[in-house]
Amino acid sequence: MEDQALIGPAGGALLPVLARRAEPVVIPLLALLVGFAAFSLFLLTQGKSPVQFFQLVWTGGFGSAFSWQNTLSRAAPLLFAALCVALPARLGLVVIGGEGAIVLGGVAAGALGVALIGAPAVVALPVMATGAMLVGAVWIGLAGGLRHYRGVNETISSLLLAYIAIALMNHLVEGPLRDPTSLNKPSTATLPPELRVGTIPGFEVHWGLAVGVVCCVLAWVLIDRTTWGFAARIAGGNVRAAQVQGLPVGRLILGFCALAGAFAGLAGMFEVTAVLGSANGSLVAGYGYTGILIAFLARHNPLVIIPVAILLAGFQASSGLIQRRMDLPDATVLVLQGFVFIAILMSEALYGRLKPFVPEKWSR
């Protein structure tokens, strides 16, 4: 009798629909908890208190206005880096070289900024952003193109391209683009104040966060609400079927990879114009790799990337506090990310297996 009351207006039962909807939410959350639990056991073997660890994460990442500011500033590049993984993933591609597009995007923005000193910011900043996006688009688009036209595995090629990008960056900031006054840390010339991206009024967080959130929403619209996104999902499910349907698989792969790279390039641009002030080795900060984890945790859903990126940014923001208070090395957060990553991938096996989420199994 109780089931009768839960029949929805469309004639379908509400409860089964809810159960199906809950599955992709509950399973990643479970995996997150399992990852945290495994990490807690690891901390216990090290004689450290997991309770203290998570308390410090709360204090350092989310406990005060200042820590939120720190967390949100760190979330900005992660949003773009995760989009760089999530968009190609819709086509079934595993692109892990976002780091390269971030680094080169930063160099492009830094170099264009130096060339445009004296130009009004309303002209210079869009030119810098466009340059960074173009460079990033070419870099990841190359991995996509090689995949489609030459059959080169995109996972390996994108990571190789990331190493090449870092070498190029080193070459450029130590050679042709080097500011002679940067002695200890070779950098491009420092950008003048008018070419620095400021903070969102009232937030003390730079504009990269707002742009990142907007990009996530746009990417969601593209994937979930347009025919291109629909075509990409079909191609990601079955390339042959997509080709038989006459879908332009090659152009979809190139377009999605280029867009993914453009987002990563923007991350580099905001790092240079809002945080670093010039392009240098600090661009190689591992955002691309954290972005992979975020995209997988969010199941490549651009809207879900936003909270997941903020969560992981909070861990990174609290890293300094954890090092000081608990005497743990800075790699602790990397270990935590590793545990969570393994747990989330293992949780793939649970889909369709947990009875509460599979209405077909209820009666049995």
Partner: protein, 307 residues
């Protein structure tokens, strides 16, 4: 560019460098080859390599024996391999994604435990001076061949023989070429793949120990520059043939030695670009040897990257 040797000195430095730099490539690629021949790909060997470098260095420092360090690195690598193999045996878990996760996990945990070992100095692995016949110091330096390089050469021959003639090699090939055929023969593919991945991990660990215990010969967080990942491409280039792995590893080693060799004769222009040579070479070889239409010759049938 002083000295009588001139361009010869660059060549000698590249040959010597190729032998030195190729050893980790050789071990990791043989490890990856064993794994891939069983039908799985382990992209996590980069993390295994870094963890092996750390574990090998730490144990060598604490025990005073470089060889104990190599053993510890192999054991640690095998554990990573087992982890990868077991997780991939769960249905619907993607071996490429797990490889990426284990790459990040291995590096994170190596940096975590490796912090106290950045400063101390561990004993080096021994090398044999094959350059005794020459009076030229550059030739002598180039022909200082590490014992592990010779072990790697022998290992490649043994693996080639095993895959061709030994029962264990045939079992590995059947499992790698067709899960169904292996089942029909009464083999259980999953445990065999776990063992192959563990053996592969152990070899990658040894490759890492070579990095920290011989060349460059110290432990720090930048010890590996993608050798573990390039090994995956190297195996494809070597067409899953252990003997071809030797030549491929020497080629990659030579490319990696280009930058230091040019620097040693005073060429500093474009120094960082030469450091990108191995990656460019890897990418170029991948482009040249891949095809969008046909499967790669020699590829194990169950391998996900070539399907």
């Amino acid at each position: 560019m002083e000295g009588d040797l001139g361009l010869w000195s660059i060549l000698i430095a590249i040959i010597g460098g190729a032998i030195r730099v190729s050893t980790p490539f050789l071990f990791v690629s043989l490890g990856e080859l064993l794994t891939e021949r069983s039908g799985r790909i382990n992209l996590g060997l980069e993390g295994t390599l870094v963890f092996g470098a750390m574990a090998g260095y730490a144990v060598a420092y604490l025990s005073g024996s470089a060889w104990l360090g190599v053993g510890a690195a192999a054991l640690a690598g095998a554990l990573f391999g087992v982890l990868h193999g077991v997780i991939c045996s769960i249905p619907r878990v993607n071996d490429i994604a797990i490889g990426i996760a284990l790459m990040l996990f291995g590096m994170g945990i190596a940096f975590y435990f490796g912090k106290p070992y950045v400063q101390p100095v561990a004993p080096d692995l021994p090398s044999i001076p094959f350059g005794w016949w020459s009076d030229v110091p550059q030739v002598q330096a180039a022909l200082q061949v590490n014992v592990l390089f010779l072990v790697g050469l022998a290992l490649a021959v043994v693996v080639a023989w095993m895959l061709r003639s030994a029962r264990v090699g045939l079992v590995l090939r059947v499992v790698g070429d067709s899960t169904d055929a292996a089942r029909a023969m009464g083999l259980r593919p999953a445990p065999i793949r776990v063992m192959a991945t563990a053996a592969g991990g152990a070899l990658a660990g040894i490759g890492g120990a070579y990095l920290s215990l011989y060349y460059p010969g110290s432990w720090n967080e930048g010890i590996s520059s993608g050798q573990g990942l390039m090994a995956v491409a190297l195996v494809i280039f070597a067409r899953w043939n252990p003997i071809a792995c030797i030549w491929a590893a020497l080629l990659f080693g030579g490319a990696g030695a280009l930058g230091p060799a040019l620097q040693s004769v005073g060429v500093t222009e474009g120094y960082y670009l030469f450091y990108a040579a191995p990656y460019v070479l890897t990418l170029g070889l991948l482009i040249a040897t891949s095809s969008p239409t046909r499967a790669m010759a020699g590829a194990p049938g169950e391998l996900s990257i070539t399907k």
